[in-house]
Each structure stands twice: as C-alpha cells, then as structure tokens.
C-alpha cells in the first residue's frame, strides 16, 4: 500500500508545473548560469606577455642573459614573447610602447654592462666589496600585468645571480620539490558547484515542495480526509516521503546529467559518499519541510517561512562559494545551517575541497537536525485536530 500511494503522490508532484520548475528545472538553470559565469573566473589563464630586450652589449655576461631570455621565450609553456633590440636608439619609442600597453616590460642590458660585471667580480675577489650589475627593467607603475611580468623577470635575474655566485663561491643549491595536494587537475568550478546544486534541489523540495504542500494538505483538509480512512498517519507520511525520494532521485539524475555530460564534471557520482550525503540531505531537508508544515497556519505562512529560511540557508550554506571566512556577524548562520555541513562533507569526501569541519560532524549534524525536526513535527501534528 505504501508503494502504491507513494506513486500517486509522485504523479501528483510531477503534474504540478510550478513544483517541477522550482525543484527540478530551476536548479539546472541555476547550475548552467553559475558555471557559465564563474568557471572562467576560476581557470588559470596561460600567462603570456611581450618583453622588449634592449641589448646594447655583446660580451660574455650579456650573451648569457640574452641566451636565458631567448631560451625561455621559446619553451613550450613560455610565459613571454621576446623582442630584441640591438641598440638603445629606440629606447624612448619602446618606453612609449610600454605606456600604451604594447609591451608589459622592457629589460635593458646597458652599454658597458660586461665590463662592470668583470670589475665587480675582480673587486669581490680582492675583498674590496661588490656592486650589483646595472641591468635595467622598465615597468608601468600601476599596471598589474606589468608588475606580474616584472616578478617573472625578477625570478630570472635572481636565478642568473645565483648561477654567477655558484660559479664564483661554490654555493650549494638545495633542491625544492613542489607537490600539488588535493585535486590533481586543479580547481574546477563545475566540480565545486555540481554536488552543491544536487543539495540545493533537495533543499527546494524540502522547503517548498514538502513544507508548502503538506500545509496545503492540512489547510485544505486533505489530511483530514485521509485520517478518516483506515490508513495510519505513519503509513501516509512514509508513502509521502517515499514519493519525495523518487523526486530527489530524479533531481539528482538530471543535475548529474547536466554536470557530467554537458560540463564534463570529474566528480564520481557513483561513489558511496555521494549517495551518503545525498541521502543525508534528503533526510534532513525533508524533515525541515515537515517541520515548516507543522508550524505554518496556512500555505501563505508556509511560503513566508520558506522565503525567510531560503535566502540565508541557500547563500550561507557554501553551495555557491566557500563560507568558512565570512564575517563574524553572519558566521552563526553558517554554523547552524545544515546545508553547510552537507556541502562541506560531500565536497571533502569526493576530493573537491577540504572540509573546514571534521568529517564526522558533517554526518552527525544533519542527523541531529533530522531527529530534531521529526520529533518536534510529529509531536505538533499529534496535537493538532485536523479540522
């Protein structure tokens, strides 16, 4: 009987256009919009800029510097294109180019550079101190790209200095190994948002689908009509919950189709953890719907309660962006929000982003909410005469 009834409730929900739009179609539209807007913001763009090199010298050290720049401009993942100018007669014109953004940086190896380097080395060897070689770099003061280019050149020059110093005083270089932890492919907004949208779809169903619909069932005396039949309240609510379970599965499948097939998300939705958190979301957010219906006088008040809860829980649950660093005056909403734990838990266990909370908490908190919402709602429903 439970299964049969759940199918009727399911059919009824699927025929409700507003419900299908807000709980099934809207999350998908939202996902597409978010991915379209934000995925490019999180992509690491390939750095590539123009560097002008004025080489007025052709000595050994000048050639080494020139060679390093030239080699770096020819590698596969080069970060700059190099244009070499053999004398400084065009310097003013090149500086004008820099101001107009045609290049991000000008490196000048001035005339007499080599002899200055040799004299510096000699002075150092004689213990007469040392002066740095006057390699000139021109950048634009308030231009971020220009400053970023200067940092790249600074690294090259530091490397050159180190090479010179090693040759002269046997400095031992320590090898530094860098390893990327977490996602091996780097941050993907699609992977970040996809499990969040699955939870969001369930949230909408809980808040508006269950909360408002059950309130209407009570207000419209439909629950009363069920109560005079031999069907028990437990049987009714279980059938109803089962029908929402089918809807959640449908929602998850549609969002998964969009995420996996259209946007090539690498999230493994067949993972045990994916199912675990989706199930936890179903439990806690459905019981939130029961809770709302138990305390709403009519469908209007259920709608108002839904709207009041919707925005803070939706936007401060970490669905769209990480919420661990929000200001203190809204931090409490994040902390008491069950969605925070569901979103953090599902992303952590799927290897998308580490959870700021211990994993056990991301399971226990939604379970506590489920128990609390159900306990209070059942007590409230038992007290109400459905008349």
């Amino acid at each position: 009987m439970i299964f049969k009834n759940s199918i009727y409730f399911f059919k009824s929900a699927l025929r409700e256009r507003a419900y299908v739009f807000w709980c099934v179609v809207f999350p998908v539209i939202l996902m597409v919009i978010l991915i379209t807007i934000f995925s490019s913001m999180y992509k690491v763009e390939k750095v590539n800029f123009e560097v002008y090199l004025i080489k007025s010298e052709s000595g050994e050290f000048s050639n080494i510097i020139f060679q390093v720049f030239e080699d770096l401009s020819k590698v596969e993942n080069k970060v700059f294109n190099l244009k070499v100018f053999k004398d400084d007669s065009l310097k003013d014109k090149l500086i004008e180019d820099l101001k107009r953004g045609r290049t991000k940086l000008i490196v000048e190896i001035p005339e007499g550079f080599d002899s200055l380097v040799i004299s510096n080395i000699s002075m150092k060897m004689l213990g007469l101190g040392e002066n740095s070689a006057p390699l000139k770099v021109y950048i634009l003061k308030h231009n971020v790209s220009s400053q970023a280019a200067s940092m790249v050149v600074r690294n090259i020059v530091d490397r050159l200095n180190l090479e010179f110093a090693k040759r002269m005083s046997k400095i031992k270089e320590y090898e530094v190994k860098t390893e990327i932890v977490g996602s091996k492919t780097g941050f993907s907004y699609v992977d970040f948002i996809y499990p969040g949208i699955v939870i969001l779809a369930i949230f909408f169903t809980g808040l508006f689908g269950i909360g408002q619909e059950l309130t209407w069932y009570r207000e419209g005396k439909i629950l009363k009509r069920f109560r005079i039949t031999p069907i028990s309240s437990l049987n009714f609510f279980f059938s109803y919950f089962l029908s929402r379970l089918y809807l959640f599965i449908l929602q998850a499948l549609i969002v998964t189709f969009v995420g996996k097939v259209l946007y090539k998300s690498s999230v493994n939705f067949l993972s045990f953890y994916f199912f675990l958190y989706v199930f936890l979301a179903m439990l806690s957010l459905s019981s939130m719907g029961f809770f709302i219906s138990a305390f709403s006088k009519n469908t209007n008040s259920a709608g108002v309660i839904g709207q009041i809860l919707n925005f803070p829980l939706q936007f401060l649950g970490g669905i769209y962006f990480p919420v661990s660093d929000v200001p203190w005056f809204i931090k409490w909403i994040v902390v008491i929000n069950p969605i925070t734990y569901l979103a953090a838990g599902i992303r952590d266990t799927l290897g998308i982003m580490p959870s700021p909370y211990p994993i056990y908490l991301t399971i226990v908190v939604p379970l506590i909410y489920t128990a609390l919402f159900l306990f209070i709602s059942i007590r409230k429903y038992k007290r109400v005469e459905l008349t």
């Binding site: 009727y8 929900a13 025929r15 409700e16 439909i222 005079i228 031999p230």
Partner: protein, 310 residues
C-alpha cells in the same frame, strides 16, 4: 457484525471549546438501514457531532456505541465499515478521478470495483479528468463515491448538497435513495429542510449544541399543529400584530424579513381576519402564500428563528 437494531448510539455527548458549547449533551440512536438527519442552522453543532463519531474529534464526555461496540474513538476496524463525505471536499487536485478512487480503494481491505463506483456516481466519463477540473456537483459525487469505495455499512454525509444547484442536488438525493434501497445506513447533516423532509426516516433538530426535537418528519410537522400555513409580507406594526393575537391567530413574525407566518386549520377564516385587521390599520399585505407546514415551521416554532437565517 452486520445486523444491529441501532447501528449508532450516542449518549450525552459533550464537546466544549472554551465557553462555546459546540455539542452540549447530545443523545440519539440510529436504526440500521435508515436515513438519519441532523437538521439545524450553521454552527448548531451538527458537524462537530458527526466528526466525534467519525473519530476526527475527541469528545469531552459521552458514550458512543457503534456497530454494537462502545468506543472511546473509532479505530481501524470501524473505519473499514464506514464511509465519510466531509463538509468540504478537497482532494489532491493533480490526480485524475480514477486515480483518486484507486488510491482510496487501496486504503481498505474490502470494497467495490473502482469502475462500478464510477458508474454509480455517474463519473465514468470524467474518469480521466483531474479532480481540480470538476464542477461543484461532480466534486460532490466524487466525495460520495469515495465514501462508498469500501462498500460501507454506515455512511456519514456532511451537508452533501450545500452550494449545489437544484438539479445537482436532486441527482445527489436520487443517489442517496438508491443507497438506502441497498440497505446502507445514512447519517446526513443539512440545513435544507426540504432535503431533510424528502430523504429522512428520522430527523433530529439541533440548535446551540442541543437536540431540541426529534422524530419522523411527519410527526415533527404534526407536532406544531395546524393543517396549513399562510405567509405574508407586512410592514412592521406592533399594534397590528397585537390585534392579530387578540383575534386568536397563531403566528410568528420574522422581523428581519417582515414576514408573517400563520398556522391555521381554517384558511378562509384566518385570511378574512388578517385582511380586516390590515384594512383597519391601513397596512399593505404582499406576497401571500398558502402552503402545507414543513420542517422549517417546526424549527421556527421551536426556536423563533428560521433555519437559514444564520
């Protein structure tokens, strides 16, 4: 469990909401196979009484015996044997009529075939229509059909014709008479006296939570005396009414509608007295009706007000 002298017995039933005495010591017995009607104005306590018996409300005190068994509140076993049509019928609007019947059929162990019920309540051609798209009359037939789906022994129909046009109301009456022929016991609430009079075997007139008179419609009508009723509209005049009283006329006056209602065994003599008195005081008389007394007159005589005034 199928033969009882009285299928329902209610004794001294009380339900108070604060200072409001919704049901104030109601007692009655319902014979199996009869149509039993609770007749009264809105707010008289009819629905509350019915909902207590249906197990939807808990009484403050009183005794209910249903199917020969005294119960605090009816349980699953009794629910299998009763059918209920509530005063307000809202159902899941996105299900079709047939789906709704099938769903409710699944709640019961035994019952009728959905197609048979569809046929009986003349909704076969609407089987695939969504509940939301039904007219008031069709919706009411659906409600009665749902009450019949488990082939109950006892039917509770709370104002089944309220808000319906005369034709739809007549078709519901026909349905109820057919059900009576099948041996069903029907408990009806209504504030339409003609409905109670036409359908009922036994009528309980209820007002302010109390039963003020009960009996067959014929006995109740006879109890107020008079073979005929004369109704006329008159301008309100205290002296005129006093004069009628002095002349020995038995009347009630509805001040709100300025309607004078006279019970009489001699129509011609009463009209003569009435016209003379009116002429003497220069009062116009309009909309004269001479008719047989009915339950409305019983209610008016007992309470001084009309059934549909409130």
């Amino acid at each position: 469990m199928n033969n009882f002298k009285f299928i329902v017995e209610v004794e001294n039933l009380k339900k108070y909401y604060g200072n409001v005495k919704a049901v104030d010591g109601v007692s009655f017995k319902i014979k199996q196979g009869s149509i039993f009607t609770l007749l009264g104005p809105n707010g008289a306590g009819k629905t509350t009484t019915l909902e207590i018996i249906e197990g939807l409300r808990t009484p403050d005190s009183g005794k209910i015996t249903i199917f020969g068994r005294q119960v605090e509140k009816i349980g699953r076993e009794e629910k299998e044997l009763i059918g209920v049509s509530l005063q307000e019928t809202n159902l899941i609007g996105n299900l079709t009529v047939k789906e709704t019947f099938s769903m409710f059929r699944s709640f019961y162990k035994k019952g009728l075939r959905v197609d048979d019920v569809l046929d009986f309540v003349s909704l076969k051609d609407k089987a695939k229509s969504y509940v939301d798209k039904l007219s008031g009359g069709q919706r009411q037939r659906l409600a009665i059909g749902l009450a019949l789906i488990n082939d109950p022994l006892l039917l509770f129909l709370d104002e089944p014709t309220t808000g319906l046009d005369p034709q739809a109301r007549r078709s519901i009456w026909d349905l109820l008479l057919q059900l009576k022929k099948q041996g069903k016991t029907i408990v009806l609430t209504t504030h339409y006296m003609e409905e109670a009079e036409f359908l009922s075997d036994w009528v309980c007139i209820i007002d302010h939570g109390k039963i003020i008179r009960e009996g067959t419609p014929e006995d109740l009508i006879k109890s107020i005396g008079g073979e005929s009723v004369i109704e006329v509209d008159v301008e309100e005049d205290g002296e005129f009414l006093r004069e009628l009283e002095n002349m020995g006329l038995n009347y009630t006056f509805n001040a709100k509608h300025r309607r004078l209602i006279l019970k009489t065994n001699n129509v011609l003599e009463t009209i003569d007295i009435l016209l003379r008195a009116a002429k003497k005081r220069g009062i116009n008389i309009r909309n004269e009706i001479i008719r047989q007394p009915n339950l409305e007159d019983v209610f008016l005589t007992l309470t001084g007000k009309q059934l549909r005034e409130e």
